[in-house]
């Protein structure tokens, strides 16, 4: 029994719910050596910035129990090189591409959105709100609902109507539901969560921080319960908003957990570092799990964990048997 794995990000249809997480798939060409990128739901680019960025000094990565600390610092070629080389490469291959953008000011986000407007091959724009706000003493946009909403509203205002704007939320905030609601009010068509919470590790040999930057984003299965909680809370508060869930998805079971919590798509990040074929494996395992529960459509299981305890799960056959 095959499962209809199609899912929707706003009005954009994805062939399946497995996408790559921002900053974890390089320019796309690296993973294309291993499998056809057209077989996954979408590829999310690294966060594109206006100017090229050299990123942070090394060491940029430290392994922690079931996790990975990273402080890459948005190394990237800048929007000009991205539009000249990387995006056309993806567009020529008809790979659905979610372009992640990052900036230090609202104006920078807006300018990036304007540049992406004319570019063919942009399936959606994901706004990386976990960037320091230069105009607010370097406070991260995602910490504050108003600052996040301002960015989303200005990106939404200039972006073509048929390109969904996705707000990427950070768990490092007092109340993620408040920020999520502010972003949706600001015009976000979908939400993705979670970005890496900040973590730190200290090398006891050198007695110094393991990362050159001191602190870094924590990813991997270590953050999965935190991520599932965020998806659950936001889905409960905003049941109609599509959510891309992410955070330590290594297997189809992990992806299914996010789907049940209310995500309509699931992003794979850290797993790609370990297994270049992770996306396809997770997609296959997820499909098998959904089929094993007796469902034929992914859409029927999204957010299913929110049903009241004891309530029976409703299958499509229930509708067909209705006397109405």
């Amino acid at each position: 029994m095959s499962v209809d794995m199609r899912t929707y990000l706003g009005h954009v249809e994805l062939a399946n719910p497995v996408v790559t997480a921002a900053g974890c798939a390089g320019s796309g060409a690296e993973l294309a050596q291993f499998f056809d990128l057209g077989r996954i739901g979408a590829l999310t680019t690294r966060s594109i910035t206006m100017a090229p960025r050299a990123g942070r000094p090394t060491p940029r990565m430290a392994e922690t129990p079931s996790g990975l600390l990273n402080a890459v610092g948005l190394q990237g070629p800048g929007v000009d090189a991205f539009l000249a080389r990387e995006l056309p490469w993806l567009a020529q291959r008809n790979i659905r591409t979610v372009v992640s953008i990052g900036g230090g000011t609202v104006a920078e986000y807006t300018a990036l959105a304007r540049r992406l407007n004319d570019a063919p091959g942009v399936t959606a724009v994901e706004v990386n709100l976990s960037c320091p706000n230069i105009e607010d003493r370097g406070r991260v946009f995602a910490r504050d609902g108003a600052a996040s909403a301002e960015v989303i509203a200005s990106v939404r205002a200039v972006m073509r109507y048929d390109v969904p704007v996705v707000a990427k939320l950070s768990p490092d905030t007092a109340d993620i539901v408040t920020v999520a609601r502010a972003c949706v009010d600001g015009g976000a068509d979908a939400l993705s969560m979670i970005n890496n919470p900040l973590g730190m590790s200290i090398d006891t040999e050198t007695m110094l921080p393991s990362l050159a930057a001191g602190t870094g984003g924590l990813s991997g299965p270590a953050v999965r319960p935190l991520a599932v909680r965020c998806v659950w809370q936001v889905r409960a508060a905003l049941p109609t908003v599509p959510i891309i869930g992410m955070g330590g998805v290594l297997t189809g079971r992990d992806a299914f957990e996010f789907i049940l919590a209310g995500a309509c798509a699931v992003a794979v990040g850290t797993a790609l570092f370990n297994d270049p074929y992770a996306c396809l494996r997770i997609l296959r395992e997820l499909e098998e799990l959904v089929a094993a529960r007796g469902y034929t459509r992914l859409a029927d299981v999204i957010g299913l964990a929110h049903r009241p305890p004891g309530a029976t799960t409703r299958h499509r056959t229930d509708f067909e048997e209705s006397s109405l």
């Binding site: 900053g23 974890c24 798939a25 390089g26 690296e30 993973l31 050596q33 291993f34 690294r46 100017a51 090229p52 960025r53 050299a54 990123g55 942070r56 000094p57 090394t58 060491p59 940029r60 990565m61 392994e63 129990p65 079931s66 996790g67 990975l68 990273n70 890459v72 190394q75 990237g76 800048g78 000009d80 050159a212 991997g220 299965p221 850290t270 797993a271 790609l272 570092f273 370990n274 297994d275 270049p276 074929y277």
Partner: protein, 291 residues
């Protein structure tokens, strides 16, 4: 001069043999698919810890040797310096290992028969023998300079003696060969053999010294860097180092896909671990280099 990258594959290989070589461990793994694509200088990414591990990153090891036996085997050498390599050291024959490879850009080889000096620091010398073999098949003269902190950390001295026209060994404690570092004896070797090119692999500090010597003699030097990696395939952006490009602009390049082999004089060894102020996209003005 640069060879085009080959397509890597993921292989679940079976451990054929394990051996301990002085301070190091060597694993031979049956890994068909990797072997036929192998060029000297390639490395493999090895998943550690088994299927339900808490260690998420692959460990990168340069390929020491490939053999056609059992459909193709690769051998890599490593030192135990953490829980991942300790787990690897505990592997036994018939255990399975998840490998991705071959990865990276291999060593470029000269067209003409020239005199080559191979410099290996610590177990970095492991990858040099495949290069030396390819060079000798092209009629090149090969001489070895191997060094480490102590005798048990010099890898492949016997094999170097068999293969090379001459072999010079150095240890910092004087327990084998000359007391000192490879860079102390390298100028003499280069002058004696009238070397045309230097191939080097080892710790960053060794490569910096070797490059300085080669630059002094005005001969090309190819270095294979050992930068820490998480993925090995170019997506994680953690193994970067500042390298000067053909256009003269310094970029933070990934040693896994743009390397691990670089022309030594292009690597800004003094700035490794930093973002040089004039690098492309460096904070505060580097982006002015664009266009």
């Amino acid at each position: 001069m640069r060879e085009t990258p080959v397509t890597p594959v993921q292989v679940t290989g079976t451990v054929l043999t394990t051996r301990q070589v002085d301070a190091y461990h060597a694993l031979t793994v049956v890994a068909p698919g990797i072997v036929e694509r192998f060029r000297p200088g390639h490395f493999v990414g090895v998943a550690v810890g088994g299927p339900h591990t808490s260690m998420l990153t692959r460990r990168a090891f340069s390929i020491h040797d490939v053999k056609p036996d059992y459909g193709g085997t690769v051998e890599f050498v490593f030192a135990v310096n953490g829980p991942g390599t300790a787990w690897l050291a505990g592997r036994r024959a018939r255990d399975t290992l998840d490998l991705v490879g071959p990865l990276g850009r291999p060593f470029p080889l000269p067209r003409d028969p020239v005199n080559c000096v191979m410099v290996g620091g610590e177990y970095g010398s492991a990858m040099l023998f495949a290069v030396a073999d390819a060079l000798q098949q092209r009629g090149c003269r090969v001489d070895f300079v191997l060094g480490a902190a102590s005798a048990d950390r010099v890898f492949g001295a016997m094999r170097a003696r068999r293969m090379g026209e001459s072999t010079t060994l150095t240890t910092e404690d004087g327990s084998l060969g000359m007391r000192g570092r490879v860079t102390d004896v390298l100028p003499g070797v280069i002058a004696d053999v009238r070397a045309d090119v230097v191939y080097a692999c080892g710790p960053m500090e060794t490569l910096r010294g070797v490059t300085a010597v080669a630059v002094e003699f005005d001969i090309p030097v190819q270095v294979a860097v050992e930068e820490r990696m998480a993925c090995g395939i170019g997506v994680c952006m953690t193994c970067v180092l500042p390298v000067i490009g053909d256009d003269g602009v310094t970029r933070m390049v990934r040693s896994c896909v743009e390397g691990p082999v670089f022309r030594g004089e292009r690597v800004r060894f003094d700035d490794v671990g930093t973002i040089p102020f004039d690098a492309l996209g460096a904070p505060g003005g580097g982006s002015r280099n664009v266009g």
